[in-house]
């Protein structure tokens, strides 16, 4: 204790002073600070390309926050957690201001604001969005945009050029028929099977839709009526059964979304339908394999050449968001900076507003990481063959439920395994889809 005549502070007094100070701090100064500094909370997936997250969090959000006097908080979650997290936020009516889905969130329409205003602001500067973005975020019945799509990821074919060139396809398969013939020849000659999945997972969902559309079939028509039970679907089912029996192995029934990546990178598969995550991983981890894996556009069927986007970035602003105005402004400004986003994603995210990356074709035709540098040039005409889930209709809540409950992969897998005939499987899928469509009519 001090003994120099000045009265020292007792422990009790120090504690009291600290307590008063803390209270004053909590009640006073930060309140003023809070009044000046808004917060914008964003949740999105951990991007496949780590460099993208680095740019988004560390550069764009930081700059945007400084410009708008806003603290931007970005939370990253795994793909598999997105739907459960969204359901939890809606249930609690609390959460992030901007929620990024990787598929059209039509089921949440009543919980989100109308995003028309954002589209209008962006359109003034960058023109109309692509049809794929529009059909993935717009409900034609309510005339409401239930999300805002900034970008999509193409879903091309990845093939082993060294193998395909030895069976007469030096540029890889161009049609589904090529895939069957060449795939069988490679499997017979070298043992490498084709890797089109038939499992309950994302890539299978996309691949079987690509087969159906290419054969002229679809789950719904442009007006949203279930039309899956058609001769075209039956032809698509027969094709897939033949492809499995001639050119694939039973492992395709066990897969998760990363299995086909692993399979082709391990040198086992001759062809997979996937985003450029395959080749980008090869460039980083296996440069020799990177030279062997090349890209082809979606395969052509008897009717057309078509595939789904691999993932669809859809930002949604909850009705209960605490900073909806900030979220709207953020999206508008993000589109202004999309040219940088495209580069940061290493061409993974393609723009829904093409004018934001006017030199896209030139960029992808000369990629220093690609081997050869024009490896990704085939993606230049991606909009000629990429479409939305739900084509030729819109991506509705019913389409989303059918997608997430794997009705189409189940239909294809049962035929491939001879559990059902193509006709019976199409009939069973039709019954299931109609049950789902009926439910969502009234929702």
């Amino acid at each position: 204790m001090a003994s120099d005549g000045r009265r020292g502070l007792t422990r009790r007094e120090i504690l009291k002073a600290a307590g008063v100070g803390a209270l004053a701090a909590a009640a006073g100064a930060p309140r003023r600070a809070r009044a000046q500094q808004k917060t914008l909370k964003i949740v999105q997936w951990s991007h496949f390309v780590p460099g993208y997250d680095k740019w988004f969090d560390g550069v764009f959000c930081k700059q945007w926050g400084a410009k708008h006097g806003t603290q931007v908080v970005v939370d990253h979650i795994a793909i598999g957690e997105i739907n459960a997290r969204a359901a939890a936020e809606v249930s609690a009516q609390r959460g992030h201001d901007l929620f990024m889905f990787l598929s059209p969130p039509a089921a949440y329409e009543k919980q989100v604001i109308d995003h028309t205003e954002i589209y209008q602001s962006v359109e003034k500067k960058w023109g109309k969005p692509i049809d794929l973005g529009h059909k993935s975020t717009f409900n034609p019945k309510t005339k409401k945009y239930f999300a805002f799509s900034d970008s999509y990821v193409p879903d091309p074919g990845n093939y082993r050029q060294d193998l395909w060139s030895q069976v007469g396809f030096p540029k890889g398969p161009d049609t589904w028929d090529d895939l069957r013939k060449g795939g069988k020849a490679i499997k017979d000659k070298f043992g490498n099977p084709v890797g089109i999945g038939l499992s309950q997972e994302l890539d299978t969902n996309m691949a079987v839709r690509a087969v159906m559309w290419s054969f002229g079939a679809s789950e719904q028509d442009a007006e949203g009526r279930v039309v899956i039970n058609s001769p075209q679907t039956i032809e698509a089912l027969k094709y897939m059964r033949a492809l499995y029996k001639e050119a694939e192995t039973g492992e395709i029934f066990t897969w998760d979304p990363s299995s086909n990546n692993r399979g082709i990178l391990a040198g086992k598969l001759s062809f997979v339908a996937n985003a450029i995550s395959v080749t980008r991983t090869a460039e980083k981890e296996n440069p020799e394999m990177s030279k062997k894996i090349q890209i082809v556009p979606a395969l052509k069927g008897p009717v057309r050449r078509m595939a789904a986007e691999h993932v669809m970035d859809c930002y949604a602003i909850w009705r209960f968001a605490e900073n909806p105005e900030g979220a709207k402004q953020f999206l508008v400004d993000y589109i202004d900076a999309f040219a940088e986003a495209f580069k940061a994603s290493e061409f993974y995210n393609f723009p829904c507003f093409p004018k934001t990356v006017p030199d896209l074709k030139q960029q992808i035709a000369n990629d220093p990481k690609g081997s050869p540098p024009d490896k990704y040039a085939v993606l230049g005409n991606v909009l000629e063959w990429a479409t939305n889930v739900g084509y030729p209709g819109y991506a509705t809540a019913a389409v989303d439920e059918a997608f997430n409950t794997f009705v189409l992969p189940t239909m294809f897998a049962k035929v491939a395994r001879d559990e059902l005939s193509p006709e019976d499987s199409a009939k069973a899928a039709e019954k299931e889809l109609k049950r789902i469509w009926d439910k969502w009519k009234t929702a």
């Binding site: 739907n83 809606v90 029934f253 997430n404 409950t405």
Partner: protein, 310 residues
């Protein structure tokens, strides 16, 4: 003995006071458990029931009563019918394996031997470690490309390395795989329970049986097992409840595939309700678990009680 009315009147308040003190203590001790059960089990159960008879989706803003419409809809779904059958197959098969293996392990672990503590610790690990970690480990062990099981079998020339068994790719193998992994997870729990039961059997009984000339099997089936029946029932009761309501193993290993052949009610409820956005139908699927579990619990408790009385 005759008791006068006045004496009764004097006695009653005293008794009330004594009872109320004990009651207060009882309520105080019991209430945390009650609050826990009501908040974490009762409330979700009521909510699930309300959802199952409503039109709730993940994004809906109102609630409309639709009666049994969701139940009618799920019953029409082949995926649901498959999941219902699978739930029984998954539960019964895994519990048979668990009880048989746990019995054997409990008998072995009862004996004193060097390293018994370490063996007990290792056997308990699958139960103590998070199931998601264990299931992911098994997913790799059974992987179509990197399966260590297939690699070993191929090295032993038992399977063709280029055409190995697809453990998670064929309906029967996939179901066997999820049953095996779930059993691996549940065996330690039942072993601990049965071990406790074994140690409570008076040593004089098997010793007397041995003196009378009874061998191991006769002693086991005619003395040990009958005496352990109540504790086996407890292990079975918990096992059935845990298995019927579990979706982790199925979801991580197969996500219900191939083509819904390993789908069980909890995984289908999650897939439909959360991933498919239809909370009402997901709740309706999960409600099918309730009568089954109530019936199982009532049956098992009755059996256990009867065994105790006997």
């Amino acid at each position: 003995m005759a008791v006068t009315g006045a004496a009764l009147e004097r006695e009653a308040p005293r008794r009330r006071r004594r009872v109320s003190g004990a009651t207060r203590l009882g309520v105080a001790l019991f209430s945390p458990a009650l609050v826990y059960i009501l908040a974490l089990l009762g409330l979700p159960l009521v909510l699930a029931f309300l959802y199952s008879v409503g039109d709730v989706t993940v994004g809906s803003v109102g609630y409309e009563f639709v009666g049994l419409e969701n139940f009618r809809s799920v019953v029409e779904s082949p995926s649901f019918r498959r999941a219902l059958v699978n739930s029984f197959v998954f539960t019964i098969a895994s519990q048979v394996i668990v009880i048989v293996c746990a019995n054997a392990l409990a008998l072995a672990l009862r004996e004193r031997f060097r390293g018994r503590g370490l063996v007990r610790f290792l056997i308990l690990l699958p139960w103590v470690a998070p199931i998601s970690l264990g299931a992911i480990g098994w997913k790799w062990i059974l992987d179509s490309i990197y399966s260590v099981v297939n690699w070993v079998l191929a090295k032993m020339h038992l399977v063709n390395l280029f055409d190995p068994p697809m453990w998670l790719g064929r309906p029967a193998l996939a179901m066997a795989s999820v049953i095996a992994v779930h059993s691996w997870r549940m065996i330690p729990f039942s072993t601990v329970i049965l071990l406790a039961g074994l140690t409570s059997i008076p040593k004089e009984l098997p010793e007397a049986a041995a003196v009378d000339g009874a061998g191991f099997w006769r002693t086991h089936f005619e003395i040990t097992l009958p005496m352990m029946r109540p504790i086996i029932n407890v292990a079975l009761l918990f096992g059935v409840v845990f298995t019927f309501t579990d979706m982790t193993v199925v979801y991580i290993l197969t996500r219900g595939g191939p083509y819904d052949s390993t789908q069980v009610l909890p995984s289908l409820a999650f897939q439909t309700g959360v991933l498919g956005s239809d909370l009402a139908e997901g709740a309706a699927i999960s409600m099918f678990l309730v009568p089954i579990l109530v019936a199982v619990a009532a049956l098992m408790l009755r059996v256990a009680h009867r065994a105790e009385v006997v």
